[in-house]
Symmetry: C3
Subunit: 337 residues, 3 copies
Amino acid sequence: MFIRNCWYVVAWDHEIPADGLFARTVIGEPLLLYRTEGGEVVVLEDRCCHRLAPLSAGRKEGDCVRCGYHGLKFDASGACVEIPGLASVPPKARVRRYPVAVKNHWVFAWMGDPALADTATLPDNFSCGDPDWHYKPGYLHYDTPWALIADNLLDFSHLSYVHEKTLGGTPAIAQARPTIEKVPRGVRVSRHVADVPPPPFYLRMKPFDGNIDRHFIYDFLLPATLLMHSGGRPTGTTASDGPPSVQLHSCQALTPETENSTHYFFMQGVPTAQGGAGLVDNVFASLVQAFNEDRDMITAQARIIAMKPDAPMLPLAMDSALIQFRRIVDEALRAEA
Amino acid sequence: MFIRNCWYVVAWDHEIPADGLFARTVIGEPLLLYRTEGGEVVVLEDRCCHRLAPLSAGRKEGDCVRCGYHGLKFDASGACVEIPGLASVPPKARVRRYPVAVKNHWVFAWMGDPALADTATLPDNFSCGDPDWHYKPGYLHYDTPWALIADNLLDFSHLSYVHEKTLGGTPAIAQARPTIEKVPRGVRVSRHVADVPPPPFYLRMKPFDGNIDRHFIYDFLLPATLLMHSGGRPTGTTASDGPPSVQLHSCQALTPETENSTHYFFMQGVPTAQGGAGLVDNVFASLVQAFNEDRDMITAQARIIAMKPDAPMLPLAMDSALIQFRRIVDEALRAEA
Amino acid sequence: MFIRNCWYVVAWDHEIPADGLFARTVIGEPLLLYRTEGGEVVVLEDRCCHRLAPLSAGRKEGDCVRCGYHGLKFDASGACVEIPGLASVPPKARVRRYPVAVKNHWVFAWMGDPALADTATLPDNFSCGDPDWHYKPGYLHYDTPWALIADNLLDFSHLSYVHEKTLGGTPAIAQARPTIEKVPRGVRVSRHVADVPPPPFYLRMKPFDGNIDRHFIYDFLLPATLLMHSGGRPTGTTASDGPPSVQLHSCQALTPETENSTHYFFMQGVPTAQGGAGLVDNVFASLVQAFNEDRDMITAQARIIAMKPDAPMLPLAMDSALIQFRRIVDEALRAEA
């Protein structure tokens, strides 16, 4: 069961070639992604209406795609426009076309009722497309349900343990209590951690003589997008002393592939003023290392859950944000039912 | 659900060693194949009646087979003739024996009621055993249901697309409308394609100055056997100018291994008058390349179908033969039910 | 369905490091094994009560273990003693602790009601811990249900066929009829085989001029433990001529991992008086070779059974011990139901 009436990130725009076909499964549905001659992204059902072969095994012809099995040709609206050997095309010969939006290098598809597609609900992933921010785009594939990854992102107390040697560096993150607020389509989590050692990857960005005050302020929005400002400044300094020494903005999106597998699109932006390409590579490498730590843990957790799917979890104070977000998801599912 | 009362091709005869055991699963049943001292092929249930170990993990002893687990010995009729440590053998100690026929190098087993086994229904795979025809025997394993492969073979319009660079070479094949006739136990498909370029593999057989007229005339018979005459002659010539420049005969058989996997036995015969071993190698290589193209497409199709097993297909004019054949299969299944 | 109120071998004691965590799944339950500072083995449920991550992905801290996901800390009783960021720990925060016994290098866990754990029912695996016996500890993993392996061990007629070239060497073993007696928690199987060639691996232990008399006397006890005296002496000699030329004692235990996979712990002890380390290596190599022969056969058998799970087996005289033991298992299961 997935929410349908929302925008899912289905690709980084660089994944879709100028000439050629790209396939990805989203919420259990096979999608074909390609570009028209004008460069516009098209998302069609990747399943020929005739014998159900994937159109992605065929070829692009101008703004159209031709099935590689028996040669049916579809235009960018999903309508079949040619059937070899037939003088006319029956009106039922078409595949589903999904509304598309491209915003700051994220390609979104609307998986539900096209009439409800509303670009006003696209997330504000500004740092993916702002010349004042540098980043490298990331993608990971998970063999776990998406919700376990969302749980992870909604409780940063795991930074102290999963990422002890990478993003975390101190148990104080787990000990700090964040504030949780309801925002439209999600929750806002704000966590301030005072007087802690800078984490290993901050040290590769800036020299620090002593402890720092860190902050993590993020929105987690339907269907499963994280937009986060984070950073730190030397303990004892305040806003009146200038901006934080380290400032980062991160955009991350989880897109279910199937009930038990997930696409994870992510980036960590660094202000251009703060450093060059070397720094961006460095931050990206840290992020990938940490996200692999998460994936190892969540994959292990999923394996244990699969052994006894009805084993109860014990809710604790640190689960507040994720419990609230699961409630928002349940409400959205009920509203669609 | 499989048709049982019919002959299934279970092996090429060269696959069964003179001395040794050969195992193959057919319509979900494990078969043991071996030869008596006299060379006759025996097909037994590959499952010892005692503890269900596969007899193929044992050894051949004369015309018998001995289970490698606890030493029960079975003769070529499937009767247990010795149990180590027991003076007498209980009458229930036996494994099923399947009627066998060997015809032109194809080994057939009758999977249903032995009393109904009738060699008159064996297909006329003459070119597999005629000194006037050369060929190399082929085998492919599919991880898909057999019916999707039968569908492929019953509609050659796919030649224009799946085999564009191998067997096909022109959209005219898809555009030509074949005639479909009912024949005993199946359908006959006759397709004539006029004035088209010779396909790449014809060119390796014969020089052609210009376009040719091609023909494909085949019977597709229960359970899933294709017997085809095909070939071509220069456009503008007729039978009165002599036989076709290229003449081929192909025998192909699909045998379900399980609900979701299939054995594919095939050959393409070339008249000995038309060329020697080099040509046969060449034709075989083309065929294997093309059949791998089919397998890639059908495997992709099966993957898409598995994602939504109830997705409807859209019947089109080109599906006429396969729809007729599916009806013949359904009738046979109903008759056995 | 597994028997719960019994001791299962869960590890050789050398498998559990002095410092570190060891994970093993037993009867479908994930177990964490580690040692206290004092060296005592602890077995806990390997599933954090909070979000169900495996504790084995965390770290040992003194006598405690800390979850690697959100940092909950558990003591050796399974009680949670610290939750980062929480002043007090809710009483429900705990994981299951399993009673443990270590006897002669086998580590046992009691998987049922702790109040019923009774070390009097531990098997007498004396040769695993006696300075007068040498051995090398063995472990094999099976991808089959445990009961098929127990069946194998309860009928040594298979030695003549599965182990013809290793432990067996003669059909006379299968032809000899063992006596079967009921003993507490199991059966005793005694098989004497007179006047047979020494098996290949005996010859590597002792020179023999002619045939020997062999014996195999073993108890097979709940849940699935084999304790066996075996050996042989030159045919024509008797106890009054001195002890058998070859004397062995073997301890073997099957522990279900899941319904379809099994842990197999085994050793073959040789009296120190009978030879040194070279001999022990030799015996171990023979045993591993033979046990791989068993695994190949049982895995093949399980594959055939999976194709038709309701295929009946044909009970024969040689199945007497295994039928009796299956009845004992069924009684134990019924008693727990």
